[in-house]
Symmetry: D2
Subunit: 341 residues, 4 copies
């Protein structure tokens, strides 16, 4: 059993902690943080998703703060790292780099970083569907960001089946997550002036040969990014062929606007009706009606649930790094445990 600590219990961290706890080939050894945010507090409470898990402090000041916040702290993360096999680091950008150099590397513990971490934090940028094998045996792996994950899943499916000559993917970002209600914009669309936007180069870290062009804007919604994608195909494909390729992808859902799932909010409601915890949707969701092939050009629009889409990949990264399972077996185990069909 691989001993896992999740360091940084925010939006991603709390979800990864719960996901690790559900696996039968790894143990959630502990969670670690520097203060008691609501995710940590509720997660450790009797109704919470990782109740009973030991809480560690990521550093000494953090220990003091946690104790001031009236949390029971087992001790410093550093003091138990020798019993830990891998840390999933979900701390804010900047902290992750320092953790790697000062904590994980000196103690010889493997680590997985999230999409916000600097690119040079790990040689392997990871997406389970696109490049599982590259993480095998690695000590440090970066799971790519939510948007890059969705593009990697969908693009790799299309690329493997029909070849992608070139692609354009334009992103409509959510303003903030549901509880981040101090962030704008209210009634405004904000262009991302970094051009091309970072998710283009990021997906190339996973699929180096992909010719992809990306732009992005931010809008006043809280649940879900949306991508508008255009692809020049290398080989002929019908719309049904493409839908089939997406259906074969274990973490891409085809959703029908015609059956009522015609917006991000309607998909949110579907996740609620399915009883998904937090109404999360770790799958990328492609709207069926938008999948169109016209004279060699493939179009589609898909949605990304920014809070949860990287959670299964974070679990798979652990299996790859410790060579616990093959790609297919790991994806299946993770999907089963999280209710992904």
């Amino acid at each position: 059993m691989v001993n896992v600590v999740v360091n940084g219990i925010g939006t991603i961290g709390k979800r990864v902690a719960e996901a690790v706890k559900k696996q039968d080939d790894m143990t959630l050894y502990g969670v670690s943080d520097v203060s008691a945010g609501q995710g940590l507090r509720t997660g450790l409470s009797p109704e919470g998703g990782f109740h009973g898990t030991d809480l560690y402090a990521s550093n000494s000041e953090g220990k003091e703060q946690l104790e001031e916040d009236e949390m029971h702290v087992e001790g410093l993360l550093e003091d138990v790292l020798d019993e830990v096999d891998v840390v999933v680091d979900c701390t804010p950008p900047g902290i992750d780099k320092s953790n790697k150099e000062n904590l994980y590397r000196p103690h010889g513990v493997k680590a997985i970083f999230q999409g916000g971490a600097p690119d040079d934090i790990a040689e392997v940028k990871f997406n389970a569907d696109a490049n599982y094998s590259e993480a095998v045996g690695e000590d440090f792996v970066k799971v790519v960001s939510c948007n890059t994950t969705s593009l990697s899943r969908t693009m790799s499916a299309v690329d493997e089946a029909f070849g992608v000559d070139e692609a354009t993917a334009n992103l409509v970002r959510r303003a903030g997550d549901i509880p981040q209600d101090g962030r704008g914009p209210v009634n405004s669309t904000i262009p991302v002036t970094e051009v091309p936007s970072h998710h283009g180069p990021d997906v190339q870290a996973v699929m180096p040969d992909l010719d992809i062009k990306t732009l992005a804007v931010k809008v006043p919604v809280t649940y879900g990014h949306v991508h508008m994608v255009t692809v020049e195909l290398e080989n002929e494909a019908s719309e049904e062929d493409v839908l089939e390729a997406f259906r074969d992808q274990p973490r891409v859902n085809i959703e029908s606007a015609g059956e009522g799932f015609d917006s991000t909010a309607k998909l949110h409601e579907k996740m609620r009706d399915l009883g998904r915890k937090r109404s999360d949707m770790p799958e990328a969701a492609v709207w069926e009606e938008t999948v169109t092939v016209d004279d060699g050009t493939l179009y589609w629009i898909h949605m990304v649930h920014q809070e949860s889409i990287v959670v299964p990949d974070s679990v798979d990264a652990i299996r790859a790094m410790f060579e616990l399972e093959s790609k297919e077996a790991s994806i299946e185990k993770t999907n089963d445990s999280l209710g992904i069909e």
Copy 2:
């Protein structure tokens, strides 16, 4: 065991069906509708909340539509009503009245109606905390609307403890529920020009002696109404006294802005972290810091989750009508089954 059918599987109906299924003193005999909306479809699917429940058609046209929608229909609701003890009618306003006259009364089956139904549909307007006993033995009961339910719970707690001389309660309504994204307003506040707004008279149907004045506006949010309440107290009370009275109320939560739950979105996130299905919050949530007593005037602000707050009361109404349990016992049973502490 009381045999229950839920007729009309929309926002409220799908929740009531799932809640009834969780009780050990009643049976979800079936659900009934006239077409296959997403709530019905997902609820009956293997991952859904009332999978395995028999589906009936509320009328002949509905049977045809459901079959066209490729649903398996057991038959017409009317044909099995003799085996049913009570129907929880969650159909749209207008239909409910016709159902009562043409279906439930002729077959001698009891029925519970929701807040949108006309007032004269049932003599008893019901809120479990405020007037459970009035529904005992009744054939027809109307559970009051979400806003009225929240006011009944909080006002009855204050009135019983300290006496309410007069009250003002102003409502900030949500635009639509999460999936009702075709509804506005976007970037606008809409005054309700019916003055006083209906929830004032409505709460008087439950608490006839209450002197309450109400106004309302609608704003661009999807999760939760908010009430701003001012009460002139008959007897002295400290803020701590009032908080104590609210804490004693089994379906009122005290939430602390200072601990991070400082908005409707932050409470939404708390329900997500707690793993509540659909991130529902059937409790009325009073913000602790807003509970203020100043020279005999009591102030508070509370939040109402419009989709779920009436669900426990609908279950209690069944117990009252069949004299299954006392008020306290029913509330406790319902709360336990729904995870309300």
Copy 3:
């Protein structure tokens, strides 16, 4: 002097009426409608933008309704059409077609239609910058929609200067105009399932040789659509070259995010500070920082004020149809009168 009637005083109609009134080579003979909406009522009031203009009824029922609305009606539009040279028809889709066949053609009066009209309503689809000359002498002209207008202006500038090999333009639509606050979505992004979205083919009606691919989504904002555009250039160009080509376009503004105009709302505020009536922005606004050339690919993001962008083109269409001025002279006259620099 060309006698102009504006028929249909809604979002576009009220602006065109005011714009026509400001020209020195045409006369606003009258406005026409079938009921007294707020735009009509306020526009004819002493503080309004076309006070003193004669009001006609577009049909007999409309005359009754207008009189019921207590408006002073000069008579039926049909009865004065012989004195009218051109009608700018801003009526809802469907009505426009019927007006053409039953009113304008029988009376031999020219007409201009708006973007929502069916494509076969006029042979010439018009954008002043892209194809002014095609409208010369025509009897019926359709001014293309707001999004198509913005693409025609920017694409024609790039195409004339450097050649466009192929283009992708993805649109982020506003939910509704400022007063259309009954329309959603609230907190949701809605994909347009018509693929490619209509503005691709529409711009090809103006620029027949353009290879353009388009997708669209709708988001909860009220002031401004946004386009994310990628173009493969035929000839080399630097970013400065492209900015120069845009600056030379008389109805494209370059706006700097770095100077504080970093969103649609900030541009809205700029129009307010400039004292533009209704804070309108008839120019397409390209964000300077997004104009990027990378290995033959040109990127940019621009904003479209949906309510006003087609107003100057509607005025120019009149001049073209009556051969009043050359393209350059007409654009300059219209721009001067509307405060477009």
Copy 4:
């Protein structure tokens, strides 16, 4: 002619500068700031509202910054204060207090402060309708905030006509102004946990005998606060009496939902159609249909345009301090110049 400087050219400052420029009994001697925000930049540009006005720096660092921003600076505000009669200080809270002590008082120049300034900055809290005479001859006056201004206008009208025994006024705040799109909330309602909210005590600074209770929440809109008001009347009044009292108030508008002005957005559109600069609405707008009298209780809902409502009062404050006109004459002059009927 009174020489006026406006110090701090933000949301309020830019409007006050333009308003002062329109008066015939005062001169806009200059504007002053510490950096070149967009309001300042656009206002001084050829198309701007105070083009040609001299620009001063509020302090030495500000001078450097303004010059770095490539603005032409006449000099330091301090160096010309001897030629200035009054400064309208629209600087951020904190700066205003320091300006009073270090700039205005030492130079013997009068000053007017805005609603965000500390209460002890001036003895007189000013609203033209409610207490014009108190500012006569004063050296320092604070114009009360936008919400307090709206309550002062409406409450003083009702109090003078019928007597106010007690009042409840609950506020639904906008998230941020149109260009403040970095501020939330998106899809959330935020209770103000300060109880009673400050606008209750603030209106008492203007109307000391008023018994008023206030609560507030914040919602995702940008144009306009809304107040829900309940008043116990001392003397009998019909709804028509109350409407008449409001109509007699020179800065309160009665707006009809039934005529189409049924939301804050529809009133925004009305201001646009009227050609008001920036679509400002300095009047408080009471929705006619909400004015209701029921058994001695008066209800109404009104809207406040937060950016512009205090502008006319700032101008009137100058006249009162220099005894230029009587209350009625000043209000009429200001209203005429600003297009307020």
